[in-house]
């Protein structure tokens, strides 16, 4: 558990980065600090491992004042991940991961062996261990950064905008990976971001900070979106918070309907009706694209005759995904799949809205609705 007790940080030039702020980060959860630049979120994070000393107030780690511990010793017991990963370019990936165990005096052999195991844990192959960070993609480097932070098995993990320098697709993968790891490891994670979407997706609790280092609201994500404390929080979480709130509403009761389908490789004789859109599936019954009305198939149906399918909705995932599937489909009908990606049926935006209307007062769930997909 991390406790900030009326901490304040004022720099020598008079700027106040953090204003008498109190916050308790519960153990074993992901807590996100979010806010615009200059809101003091990174300053607050760095107070935990004494890279920034508060001007007044105290930070407690499991009830002990961190002021009383040696900074270097303290830091070795706290994992730290930063933007751009901050890997050491002159050391192999394996030795990067082994950094803290080596500082603790673990033998090089054991540290390296453990490091290779950790690489697999964060979804990288052991072979990458012998490479240098410069030979890895941004997403891979970020995974190595996470592995390095976990190497000494610290109970606390500080993450400072760790995923903001990678592209959206890689970022989404890294976020999923973090949630999966957290389920396994149950660390106390303090995560800084300026991205509200990331905050509500990852955080069990989200602290919104405003400029000048004031705590504007500290709540579960669904609560934050449904009941922002004031105008600042409302405008910060965005105009589309109503839509985003659907991330926390489950989609049970949504009945996928039928649609004409064909398979890739079918001949023109198999294509059912030419009047409407037809959904094309692959050999494993996974949606591949839509065949426009009236199109003629000469020979066998190939993928390049199809219009992109739009986003997919996986059964059991939140309503936001279902609505997006319907809206992003060229036909207005979103494809629904099961956890293995097998086609189940289609839904329309109307169906989703009807479901929302029918449950006028949706129960707020704690944290994001979890769903599995491959």
């Amino acid at each position: 558990m991390i406790e900030f007790r009326t901490v304040r940080k004022q720099y020598d030039d008079g700027t106040v980065a953090v204003q008498e702020l109190s916050l308790t980060v519960p153990a074993g959860t992901i807590t996100v600090l979010v806010g615009p630049s200059g809101c003091g979120k990174t300053t607050l994070l760095r107070m935990v491992n004494r890279m920034v000393e508060p001007s007044s107030g105290a930070v407690l780690l499991d009830g002990k004042e961190i002021r009383d511990s040696d900074p270097a010793e303290l830091r070795r017991g706290i994992g730290y991940v930063i933007q751009q990963a901050g890997l050491f370019p002159h050391r192999t990936v394996r030795d990067n991961v082994a950094t803290v165990p080596l500082l603790f005096g673990t033998s090089r052999r054991k540290a390296r062996r453990d490091a290779e195991e950790l690489l697999e844990r964060v979804g990288l192959s052991r072979e990458l261990g012998k490479r240098y960070p410069g030979q890895l993609s941004g997403g891979q480097q970020q995974r190595v950064g996470v592995a390095r932070a976990l190497a000494a098995d610290p109970p606390v993990l500080l993450m400072d905008e760790p995923f903001s320098a990678v592209d959206p697709v890689v970022r989404a993968g890294l976020q999923q990976e973090l949630l999966r790891l957290q389920e396994e490891l149950g660390k106390t994670v303090l995560f800084v971001t300026h991205d509200v979407d990331e905050a509500v997706q990852l955080g069990e609790r989200v602290a919104v900070l405003r400029q000048g280092g004031e705590l504007a609201q500290y709540a579960a994500p669904a609560e934050l979106l449904a009941r922002p404390a004031d105008d600042f929080v409302a405008s910060f979480v965005g105009k589309d918070r109503g839509y985003r709130g659907l991330s926390f509403v489950d989609s049970s009761g949504l009945e996928p309907g039928p649609v004409d389908t064909v398979h890739i490789g079918d001949t023109s004789a198999d294509v059912p009706s030419r009047a409407g859109w037809v959904l094309a599936l692959d050999a494993q019954d996974r949606p591949r694209g839509w065949l426009p009305p009236g199109s003629t198939v000469r020979g066998r149906l190939t993928e390049d005759q199809l219009v992109a399918v739009g986003s997919l909705h996986t059964l059991g995932c939140p309503l936001r995904e279902a609505l997006d599937a319907a809206l992003s489909s060229p036909t207005g009908r979103g494809a629904v799949v099961d956890a293995d990606g097998v086609f189940q049926g289609v839904i329309t935006a109307g169906q989703v809205l009807e479901l929302i209307e029918n449950r006028r007062h949706p129960a707020l769930t704690e944290g994001a609705v979890q769903c599995s997909r491959d």
């Binding site: 890279m51 270097a72 303290l74 830091r75 990963a85 901050g86 803290v100 500082l103 993609s137």
Partner: protein, 224 residues
């Protein structure tokens, strides 16, 4: 000319003298190079850490490097009390030059270490000195190497000047060769100096390659 060279090298006493002078030249140029590197590193680190020291240190280095070498060779004995022909003169003078020459590149190389890397090192629990030795110094090597190569060539040529005040080294071939005049000795002196400079440069490049394997690791970026 060619016959002259054959005659010069056929004399065993000439060869002996040449090798002795070469040995002295190596000693007089490389000891100050090593000492200069060892002095410039902590000074550069100091200039990096303490901003107020930066201007005086860099200014001082510039002044030292501007004083003509011959003047230093002549003045130094009266300041530190060594004999005029003592090799200590040349070693100390060239150490000063090397330090002065390397100070700014050392500072620049240390400043060029990415902030997120030093920040990460601190957050991992490195104490400042260990962080300097284990993270910042190795990362500064590529930028430092070019400066050390310049300093090595500069030292090797400056040692020749020392011969004017009677200190050994390949410069003796010029001080003996000019008044006679003996073209063969002068040519041997020039060629030997150039070869020495090239050999030292190759060694430095080899050392740099040994110290920075990560710089040449292929850019085999694969998808994450």
């Amino acid at each position: 000319m060619f016959e002259g060279l054959i005659r010069y090298f056929s004399s065993s006493s000439n060869r002996e003298v040449l090798f002795e002078q070469l040995g002295q030249h190596v000693y007089l140029s490389l000891v100050p190079l090593a000492a200069g590197v060892l002095l410039a590193l902590p000074l550069g680190r100091l200039a990096q850490r303490l901003r107020w020291l930066r201007a005086p240190l860099l200014g001082g280095a510039n002044v030292v490097y501007t004083v003509p070498s011959l003047a230093v060779f002549v003045l130094l004995p009266s300041v530190i009390g060594t004999g005029y022909t003592s090799s200590g003169n040349v070693v100390i003078a060239l150490t000063l030059y090397t330090t002065a020459l390397l100070l700014r590149p050392v500072l620049d190389a240390l400043e060029a270490v990415p902030e997120h890397v030093t920040l990460a090192a601190t957050a991992m629990g490195y104490r400042p000195h260990r962080r300097f030795l284990a993270v910042e110094l190795p990362l500064a090597v590529p930028a430092l190497t070019s400066a050390v190569r310049v300093a090595s060539v500069s030292n090797i040529s400056l040692v020749s000047v020392g011969a004017l005040i009677g200190v050994g080294g390949l410069g003796r071939l010029f001080t003996v060769g000019f008044p006679m005049p003996d073209t063969v000795r002068i040519v041997v002196g020039i060629v030997a100096t150039v070869l020495l400079a090239l050999a030292v440069d190759l060694l430095l490049v080899a050392l740099w390659r040994l110290l920075t394997p990560w710089e040449r690791a292929g850019k085999a970026v694969s998808r994450s």
